[in-house]
Symmetry: C2
């Protein structure tokens, strides 16, 4: 079926000694990687990219309290309009926020569903890192 790279098997054999086990492990790992659809990974990475900017995180925090127009966001964060517009379009493309046109205003709100969840999860990871860091400091590491 899938062509197991001889080179990979050789490297793995050198790593773990047993040639049969190596072939088996390479096979397993390559099956795993094969399951990762390039396209799916790309989409997930695009969502994380949208979340990976301090300014955009602040926008999401503001929108947790309810719908806002671009004006209100730029007043709150004290940033130029073109910049806010740009960030909002990135968040929208990632499916994290929704837009509602209302006359000459564009009102934005969080998408239903997992957006608040993912913001909560990252806070948990951040807090775990902090307590870990304090623990390490206490042990003079």
């Amino acid at each position: 079926m899938s062509s197991i790279s001889t080179e990979a098997v050789n490297r793995m054999t050198r790593l773990i000694g047993d040639c049969d086990k190596a072939r088996c492990q390479v096979d397993k790992l390559q099956k795993l990687t094969g399951k990762l659809s390039e396209e799916e990974i790309e989409k997930e990475s695009q969502i994380f990219k949208a979340l990976a900017d301090p300014c955009r995180l602040k926008i999401l925090m503001l929108l947790r309290e309810g719908e806002l127009c671009v004006c209100e966001i730029m007043i709150s964060l004290d940033r130029p309009q073109s910049s806010m517009s740009h960030h909002l379009s990135i968040l929208k493309d990632a499916g994290l926020i929704k837009e509602r046109k209302d006359g000459r205003w564009s009102r934005y709100r969080l998408s239903e569903g997992s957006v608040i969840e993912i913001l909560n999860q990252v806070r948990l990871i951040k807090e775990a890192n902090l307590t870990k860091a304090n623990f390490d400091r206490g042990n003079n590491k």
Copy 2:
């Protein structure tokens, strides 16, 4: 207490008409923004940055199945060693994976806790985007 920018109130007044309501809204929004600690936001953004790369997402997917050394990861993903080492250090700095030194090997595993959760959440968002996209296509938008 907090100095409400006159300029912001003026803009908001033009937006919503009533000057008192404008002052109140600007006050509310700026209190909200004030609560956002620059430092905390920066840390959360660093975690999302670590997640925002296709190659690093693939590494995390592999590690879901268990501990792996750098070798095994570079064989699986067929990428140069220096590149894998670099990505692993970014994931480690973000607290998403843990390292265990074992002779000349460095073995990496997912951190306990929310890492798998956050990967699940992003998949939910991605899938919501897809069904939304199909719906839109169905409506010739």
